[in-house]
């Protein structure tokens, strides 16, 4: 409860600082949407040359992409710690965080909120609805609830992967190039995994489980028989990765060495 009210207090203040740099905010939103639009265009271009990719149709792909944008947008809005090692470990700002009576990771998340990414999530919903009607999907009354559950699970998968990777900073004390690498890999999660070869398919499901932020949960709504099992696995994977990441993080914090004097 306390954490929830803190969450809103932080958001209020950070919205305020963001809004003082108004032009920045608009540029961020527009460039974000442009980037997503370009990705969507890519899918459309591919399907101008073929009707099926694997056994997936164009509208199904677009639906998956729409789903992908929702947890992605929400996650990047509430988790923006790409400069964590630089700012908090090398410059030692972690000192400040550790002397406050709120869990340090929660504080870090709050301090790095970037609400402009929420627009991406919103457009994801629009795309899903559009592709869904094109496909003639029928929604049961509980499907919106399932959507919320799956989106939350996908966010936990993101959280698990990135918090674990960022925690590496505690062990190395310096920047590692692994973050942008993984960041690029996550884009593969928005295409059906059966179009890849077996090694990649396995990795995207179990190692860096980015299939669970896109294609797997989305296939629940597409009612794609064999893939539905994976959709139900999403919450489990989310919780597992979330807990694993928290554990790695807490071990890492105890190795924090601070900077300078």
């Amino acid at each position: 409860m306390h954490y929830l009210s803190l969450f809103f207090d932080y958001i209020k203040i950070y919205m305020k600082t963001k809004l003082t740099y108004r032009s920045d905010l608009w540029i961020e939103i527009v460039s974000d949407l442009l980037f997503q639009g370009l990705n969507l265009l890519f899918i459309l271009v591919v399907f101008m040359h073929t009707d099926l990719l694997g056994d997936w149709t164009r509208d199904e792909m677009i639906f998956i992409y729409g789903y992908f944008m929702v947890p992605y947008g929400l996650f990047t809005a509430f988790f923006n710690m790409w400069n964590f090692t630089e700012r908090y470990i090398i410059k030692g700002e972690m000192d400040r965080v550790l002397t406050r009576p709120v869990h340090n990771l929660f504080q870090l998340v709050l301090e790095n909120i970037d609400p402009s990414s929420l627009f991406g999530a919103l457009s994801g919903v629009v795309i899903m609805v559009y592709a869904g009607t094109q496909l003639g999907l029928d929604w049961a009354w509980y499907d919106p609830l399932v959507l919320v559950l799956l989106v939350l699970s996908s966010m936990m998968v993101y959280f698990g992967v990135y918090v674990s990777l960022i925690a590496i900073g505690f062990f190395t004390d310096s920047q590692t190039g692994i973050l942008p690498l993984v960041w690029n890999l996550q884009n593969y999660g928005r295409y059906p995994v059966d179009i890849y070869n077996r090694v990649i398919r396995f990795s995207l499901t179990w190692v860096l489980p980015f299939a669970f932020v896109g294609v797997h949960p989305a296939s629940y709504f597409l009612k794609k028989g064999e893939w539905q099992l994976y959709a139900f696995l999403t919450p489990l994977m989310g919780v597992a990765f979330f807990l694993l990441a928290l554990w790695i993080w807490n071990v890492g914090v105890n190795r924090y060495r601070g900077a300078g004097s």
């Binding site: 000192d95 400040r96 002397t99 709120v102």
Partner: protein, 336 residues
């Protein structure tokens, strides 16, 4: 009850050793060498509640490392710490609610947002009730004259203004223990003395235990009854400031102004058996250094008075600066 108790506390760091040159850097890539550096070497001390304790030492002596362990930021390699009944790094979130921290070199406030908003956010973070918060804030704002700073963002404040805000931020939740790491660094004399007065007042009124590190020995003289001195990770002195002066201040300096011109030679002859050294400041004024082991003040003054009329006399207390310098130069001091 002791506010802080430390027993055989130790912190080691692994420091990467870089080889020289580009070739060395390439070798480092595959084969790294590490050096074990002991930053804090088995220190033990206890600070009773309500005391202001100065923690001094040269750069790299391990002061900040100790403070960071006491505040729960760093995890000690070995040894025990109890601060306010908690083990800092184990019950971090519980523990930090009752302490205040100011690092002179690093801001505790949010850079981009207004001072008052930082304070309001801290109220939520520390769960201070609204009314208690307002009373406390008003008191601090009045005492530290923050009135017109409150609406400005932290990044637009001068160092002195920022430090006053940092102190306020650290005290909003009425902590029992206040840790200050070089709180007066880079400040002008006016702000320094204002902050010293303020700390004394807080200590008197609320019984707040204060542990501060500093390079400015005037801070120590103005504030501390107790000094812990650190060198190379070890405690080389732990005790009262007065005893420090008595044990290490080996003599007294005397400034005497005579009614008529006086040469140092005549005075030297007069006090030859007392090994007092004389030095002329000008024609009328002389400076004497009296080693306390061999002579006492009355003896010297008695003899001098027979010689000439004394217009003015000043006894210069041994200066903490000099004492500290001497302790470091003689190296070990007395190990505690």
């Amino acid at each position: 009850m002791d506010a802080i108790r430390v027993h055989r506390l130790r912190k080691e760091f692994q420091v990467q050793q870089n080889r020289e040159g580009l070739g060395g850097a390439l070798r480092d890539l595959f084969d790294r060498r590490y050096n074990q550096v002991v930053a804090v070497d088995d220190i033990s001390f206890a600070i009773p509640q309500g005391e202001i304790c100065g923690y001094i030492g040269e750069n790299g002596a391990g002061k900040s490392t100790t403070i960071k362990m006491l505040t729960g930021i760093l995890v000690p390699t070995s040894g025990e710490i109890t601060v306010n009944g908690h083990v800092p790094h184990k019950e971090r979130e519980q523990f930090v609610r009752e302490i205040g921290v100011v690092f002179g070199q690093r801001s505790q406030l949010w850079w981009d947002i207004g001072v008052i908003e930082s304070f309001r956010l801290l109220r939520k973070v520390y769960r201070v009730p609204e009314q208690a918060f307002n009373e406390r804030l008003n008191e601090l704002v009045e005492r530290l004259q923050l009135g017109d700073l409150l609406t400005r963002p932290v990044r637009k404040l001068s160092l002195g203004q920022r430090m006053r805000c940092e102190l306020t931020a650290a005290l909003l939740h009425n902590p029992k223990i206040l840790f200050l790491d070089e709180p007066t660094i880079g400040l002008d004399i006016l702000v320094k003395s204002e902050i010293r007065d303020f700390l004394l007042q807080i200590n008197k009124r609320y019984g707040t235990t204060i542990l501060l590190t500093t390079h400015d020995l005037q801070d120590i003289e103005a504030l501390c009854s107790r000094v812990v001195m650190l060198d190379d990770g070890r405690i080389i002195y732990d005790g009262g400031l007065d005893e420090l002066k008595r044990d290490w201040g080996k003599g007294k300096e005397l400034l005497i102004q005579f009614g008529q011109p006086c040469s140092p030679e005549r005075l030297r002859a007069l006090t030859a058996d007392l090994s007092v050294t004389w030095e002329a400041v000008n024609e009328f004024t002389l400076k004497a250094w009296i080693p306390l082991e061999q002579a006492n003040l009355t003896e010297v003054l008695g003899r001098v008075m027979t010689l000439a009329e004394i217009r003015d006399l000043r006894v210069l207390e041994p200066n903490t600066d000099d004492i500290v310098k001497e302790i470091y130069q003689t190296g070990a001091g007395k190990h505690v």
